[in-house]
Symmetry: C2
Subunit: 219 residues, 2 copies
DNA sequence: ATACATAATTAGGCTCACCTAATTATATTT
DNA sequence: AAATATAATTAGGTGAGCCTAATTATGTAT
């Protein structure tokens, strides 16, 4: 029904919309998919005819309900596979993205439902990203960037806002792992760097760039 | 490196060669891949240039060492995924083929090695087909069709020579499962039907068509 | 050896998903 | 408002992997 290319477009549109809101521009899509803008214009016209997206010429695209349903399904598949790769196959959180990018395109609803069950219906993937259910619905999420916290806040590290390998590896190296308790000891007003105590043990200085990308839930 | 289409051709050539020996004809490939003979001729010429196969015009093709290595790798992936689907996700042996056909094309050696480890380095898939190791080598296999047995033989059911869903479902329905002990009670000379005792319990009459496709190891 | 049937190849064409170069539309600056 | 920069579209084209119809090669029966 939906081709590999269509799935990739739908996922990219969903993610760009999530990140920047409103309509997704041709160039943003081209950039994200590493494809020329001309090719994108071509392709989105066809997707619009198929009612996967709504396309306003020279303005950009948004997902239709049908397109959004498919996009959420792909994201669901991707994140479930990531959980499996980490918890069953022993991969690290910075090693699973490329493999899950391939696995997400395997078409079998039965497979995904069985996988979900096998994993114990996880709510989030190894990076803390929520996993939509079979109907495309997410659990409630009260996390926010650590940057928005104040001195004295005691929080739980539940996710990342930046998924680059270098950031994930920095956290691993710094011994900061999903689920850790973080206590904001002091915040340096000048550069917004945070002195944070991790799991009531070691204390560490984190730059603004880092705390911006750590998602936490206040306890 | 190798495309989806190339992988499917290599696998088909390997299987046809295994089944009928010698060179694989254009029409056999066309039939197996559900593609026109003209398309096959086209494609195998390109594969020959890439040294994946050796092609004698109007005679047929055989795999080169390189092609055989890739084919065995695909078969390895396919069978490991089938083991996983049955033993971890709870699928039945007649439900896994189509899903494994998709999973086998996911490219990541690391993934397959971890999967193999996770499954405990299985020697065979849910149909009893041997799984080649990472170097394309198979374990020794002393199985033969039950049809070649004689009255009084006590054997272990280790595999099937026919993979159709209808045959697999017939066996399931008849309560004949991989690993079962079979005792050949009598063989009807007229139609080569076998009266067989399963796991020292129930006795059952199996047609020649069935015993031909049951692979067993004499105990 | 000839005729016939079957198998394989060649010729020409199609769709999908991409490309570059040229053109047009939109947004920003002066 | 005009000039300029940036973004988007159109036009024309490519390779991969398929197709049908026509042709040629191979194998079999007479």
């Amino acid at each position: 029904m939906t081709s590999l290319a269509e799935e990739n477009y739908l996922k990219a549109i969903y993610k760009l919309h999530e990140k920047h809101g409103s309509m997704v521009s041709t160039s943003a899509l081209a950039d994200s998919l590493q494809i020329s803008a001309a090719s994108v214009t071509d392709f989105i016209k066809k997707m619009a005819i198929k009612k996967l997206i709504s396309y306003k010429k020279s303005k950009g695209v948004t997902l239709t309900d049908q397109g959004k349903t498919i996009a959420l399904n792909i994201i669901r598949r991707h994140r479930l596979w990531e959980v499996w790769l980490v918890s069953n196959l022993g991969f690290k959180w910075d090693e699973v993205h490329e493999i899950a990018e391939q696995l997400e395109h395997v078409m079998s609803d039965e497979l995904i439902e069985q996988l979900d069950k096998h994993l114990g219906y996880p709510k989030a993937d190894p990076h803390g990203d929520l996993i939509p259910d079979a109907n495309g619905r997410f659990a409630k999420n009260s996390s926010k960037p650590l940057l928005e916290c104040v001195e004295g806040d005691k929080v739980k590290f539940t996710g990342v806002a930046e998924h680059s390998n270098s950031f994930l590896q920095y956290l691993t190296k710094s011994n900061i792992n999903l689920g850790d308790e973080l206590l904001v000891e002091t915040i340096e007003d000048f550069d917004k760097s945070f002195q944070v105590k991790i799991n009531k043990k070691t204390s560490r200085l984190l730059s603004k760039e880092v705390v911006k990308n750590l998602l936490v839930v206040v306890q």
